[in-house]
């Protein structure tokens, strides 16, 4: 059992203060941690997070979406400050007004693109092809490079607003290069039927890592893309099983084939979690920062379990308001049908239609809010905790020489990502 210091004094004073044991984390290295190894910990709790997410989400709805910049900032502050490395918390210093500004900036640029381009595409696709499928397809394809661009820019902003031990992180400019590479790698991955997926995973991570700074020092991504190949093994097995199942179906063994398909499906789910976690572990272990090393211990089974249990419980959490909404809907429908048939002398005929509509809208939004708050507390938080607790910094003596980096003004913040809705990430 390894100690996870919850505050910066635990190490200095030699006292070992153990985090409340959620469950033992296997050390990445079986040998005892060296003196200069810093251990990650996570101190946040689900309940306060649930209320924070619910409260800020409610304000977002009440302000017609404008509070979302504050909501995002406050949630990030909470998550960042819950992650402690060697007892010292991370800090998120992003500013909501700055996010609003970035969003406005993105609107100025994108409104033109989206308005004019969509109009022209709609015209062209109806004039030339007599249908709007081409327009949707083209405007979707046109947004893909922007999407990768926005992703990189958002990462740059978040890193520029993240601090640890008082020093800023940073990411060098390079969003268009990233977008071009991402497009190329996706094309190769599709053409190779997924065989070059690990190559894409590695190369894109390398592009980002090699441009990442902590203070004035640059991170380095070591290793090579072939080291990620083993991460595909469960997916390969699932595909193989699917092939066998198809064979069984062909030869008439319906029951057996169904069983095999089911098994292949479950294995595929595990395989995807395994790929995600295993590549993350391997990529983290080969990152270095000027002599400081990183290690991550994470379990694919635990990650999969968090997702399954989290979604199940969140689903149960919204089941009650959702069924009330469903009942209300059926009630309004049947009241209308009866009114149509002239049977409006029934007791609820006098009920104001607007009351029902308002009730429906309120219920609809509360389902939204409860769902988002529950998934924060039951999925995002446990996942973050799992990764944070598995993180180690080795050779931390090298940190002493690191100095501050200048502030990255980054006027557009993550406006493009916000406007294009890049991922539902934090």
């Amino acid at each position: 059992m390894q100690d996870r210091p919850r505050n910066p004094w635990a190490r200095a004073s030699g006292t070992v203060e153990t985090a409340p044991a959620d469950e033992p984390v296997k050390p990445a290295d079986p040998s005892a941690p060296a003196q200069d190894t810093l251990q990650g910990a996570f101190v946040g709790r689900g309940r306060p997070l649930f209320w924070l997410a619910l409260r800020t989400g409610g304000l977002t709805v009440l302000t017609l979406g404008f509070y979302r910049f504050w909501m995002k900032t406050r949630l990030r502050r909470w998550y960042w400050s819950s992650i402690r490395i060697g007892g010292v918390p991370l800090e998120y210093v992003g500013d909501p007004l700055e996010k609003l500004l970035g969003f406005l900036f993105a609107v100025v640029i994108l409104a033109f693109y989206i308005g004019v381009v969509n109009l022209l595409l709609m015209f062209a696709s109806f004039a030339l092809l007599q249908g709007n499928v081409a327009a949707y397809l083209l405007s979707f394809v046109g947004v893909i490079p922007l999407w990768f661009y926005a992703q990189y820019r958002a990462r740059r902003y978040v890193l520029a607003r993240t601090r640890w031990r008082g020093l800023r992180f940073g990411l060098e400019p390079g969003a268009w290069g990233y977008a071009a590479r991402a497009l190329g790698h996706w094309l190769l991955t599709l053409l190779s039927l997924g065989l070059l997926w690990p190559r894409m995973t590695f190369k894109l991570e390398q592009y980002r890592t090699d441009r990442t700074f902590f203070g004035d020092r640059r991170l380095h991504q070591g290793g090579g893309w072939t080291m990620l190949f083993p991460a595909l093994k469960w997916i390969a097995l699932a595909l193989l099983l699917g092939l066998v199942a198809t064979g069984a179906l062909g030869s008439g063994a319906g029951g057996l084939s169904f069983l095999l398909f089911l098994l292949a499906g479950i294995l595929m789910l595990y395989g995807l979690a395994y790929y995600r976690v295993e590549t993350l572990v391997r990529l983290t272990a080969t990152k270095t920062l000027d002599g400081v090393g990183l290690r991550l211990a994470a379990s694919p089974r635990k990650v999969l379990r968090i997702h399954l249990v989290g979604y199940l419980l969140s689903g149960l959490g919204i089941a009650l308001p959702a069924s009330v909404l469903g009942a209300l809907f059926v009630f309004v429908q049947s009241a209308e049908t009866l009114a149509d048939m002239g049977l409006d002398s029934l007791p609820w005929a006098g009920l104001d239609r607007w009351v029902l509509v308002l009730l429906g809208v309120a219920l609809y939004f509360s389902i939204f809010l409860i769902w988002s708050a529950l998934t924060h507390a039951l999925i995002t938080m446990p996942l973050t905790r799992h990764y944070a607790q598995g993180l180690q910094l080795t050779g931390s003596g090298g940190l002493a020489a690191i100095r501050q980096r200048p502030r990255d003004e980054h006027i557009e913040a993550e406006g493009f990502a916000e406007a294009l809705d890049v991922g539902a990430s934090l």
């Binding site: 505050n7 004094w9 200095a12 101190v43 946040g44 997070l49 977002t60 709805v61 017609l64 979406g65 979302r68 406050r74 502050r77 909470w78 998550y79 960042w80 400050s81 819950s82 918390p89 800090e91 500013d95 007004l97 609003l100 500004l101 406005l104 609107v107 100025v108 994108l110 409104a111 989206i114 308005g115 004019v116 969509n118 109009l119 022209l120 709609m122 015209f123 109806f126 004039a127 007599q130 249908g131 709007n132 327009a135 031990r165 008082g166 020093l167 800023r168 902590f214 429908q333 609809y364 939004f365 939204f368 940190l399 002493a400 690191i402 100095r403 501050q404 502030r407 916000e418 809705d421």
Partner: protein, 359 residues
């Protein structure tokens, strides 16, 4: 207030090296002091939204990078401005960009997109226009269905369709060649009719139910043909293609945004301009005259709408929304010359068949 002393970790914001120090609250000088630390009490703020409730993390309002980490929160009560806001950077810039964003969206939605749509509507070939109308019609049909699972059906009683075609032929005979028309009745109680790109004219069952004579239906028909001929629906469809994406962009798609987007879409979708309506009325009056039908049937239909107005959400929005309905009624009345002799449109059997088109 007595002196207060605690352990603290100081990060100077210049290096990653933590300094384990003794920190004192100096009541006389109103400051936090320690080796290398001298923070005026009024400048001390707590870093908010902490996930762990154990530590107290402090910053200076006038210094972005220095931090003090205290092992417990006992000092918190003695910091007078602990939760005061830290002045954010560049507030003026926010207003400038907000104005720029509003201006640019307004420019695009209200000027650029309509201008382009007006230009492009002229160039779209007939097949393209028909395809646009077809797609829009199927969208409207599924949007109108209240259960949300299927589309509102067409009314297809053969005798009713025959009567409708007779009406169409009578109006078409008075029109220049080459304008294809395609008329439908939707099985829905709304009192409404609309035109779509590519010559689609669509009546709702509610309108046929309410109409007092075949001439009133023909008058609405002629008005909608007026929109078709001047390509109002095509312009309109192209406009909304450009504008809706932009508004979706502005409001994002979180719950609150979805609601605003829905309302904004309604707003854009509402009406043609006043002049487009007047032009369609004038066109209808001429067409009815040329077809030997009384133009004041349009006035009668308008009056019927006015009487129905208010108690039903299904009232023909694009007729009712215009404040000068009275003027339009008067205009339609004066469009009938004093010596005008109408030729009957449908006989009683045909009129009954049209009324029963939805079965």
């Amino acid at each position: 207030m007595t002196g207060f002393e605690t352990r603290a970790i100081h990060f100077d914001g210049q290096s990653a090296e933590p300094r384990d120090i003794r920190l004192q609250l100096d009541p006389a000088r109103r400051s936090l002091t320690g080796p290398g630390v001298n923070w005026p009490l009024d400048e001390v703020r707590e870093v908010p939204d902490q996930g762990g409730a154990d530590l107290l993390i402090l910053r200076r309002a006038d210094d972005a990078v220095q931090r003090l980490i205290l092992p417990d929160r006992s000092l918190a009560a003695q910091l007078p401005r602990r939760t005061a806001p830290v002045p954010a950077v560049q507030r003026r810039q926010i207003w400038i960009w907000a104005a720029a964003a509003v201006a640019s969206v307004a420019l695009i939605v209200f000027v650029l997109v309509p201008k382009m749509a007006d230009q492009l509507a002229v160039f779209i070939p007939p097949e393209g226009e028909r395809a646009l109308g077809e797609v829009t019609l199927s969208q409207i049909r599924s949007a109108l269905d209240e259960s949300g699972t299927q589309s509102v059906g067409f009314c297809t009683a053969p005798a009713g369709l025959a009567a409708l075609q007779r009406m169409e032929a009578r109006l078409a005979a008075a029109m220049p060649e080459g304008q294809p028309l395609s008329v439908h009745v939707l099985d829905h109680k709304m009192v409404n009719a609309f035109a779509l790109p590519g010559g689609y004219v669509v009546f709702f069952r509610g309108l046929i139910d309410e109409a007092g004579s075949p001439e009133e239906v023909a008058a609405v028909f002629a008005h909608e043909i007026g929109h078709v001929v001047s390509r109002d629906p095509t312009r309109h469809a192209l406009r909304s293609a450009g504008s809706i994406g932009v508004l979706g962009l502005v409001f994002g798609d979180f719950a609150g945004g979805a609601l605003v987007l829905f309302l904004a879409e309604r707003l854009i979708d509402a009406q043609y301009s006043q002049s487009a309506e007047a032009a369609a009325d004038a066109f209808a009056a001429d067409l009815l005259l040329a077809a030997g039908l009384p133009p004041d049937a349009l006035a009668e239909m308008f009056e019927r709408f006015r009487r129905l107005g208010g108690d039903d959400e299904g009232i023909m929005a694009h007729f009712m929304a215009h404040p000068r309905l009275g003027d339009r009624i008067a205009a339609a009345r004066t469009a009938t010359p004093p010596d005008f002799a109408a030729t009957p449109l449908l006989n009683d059997d045909e009129w009954r068949a049209l009324k029963a088109i939805c079965g």
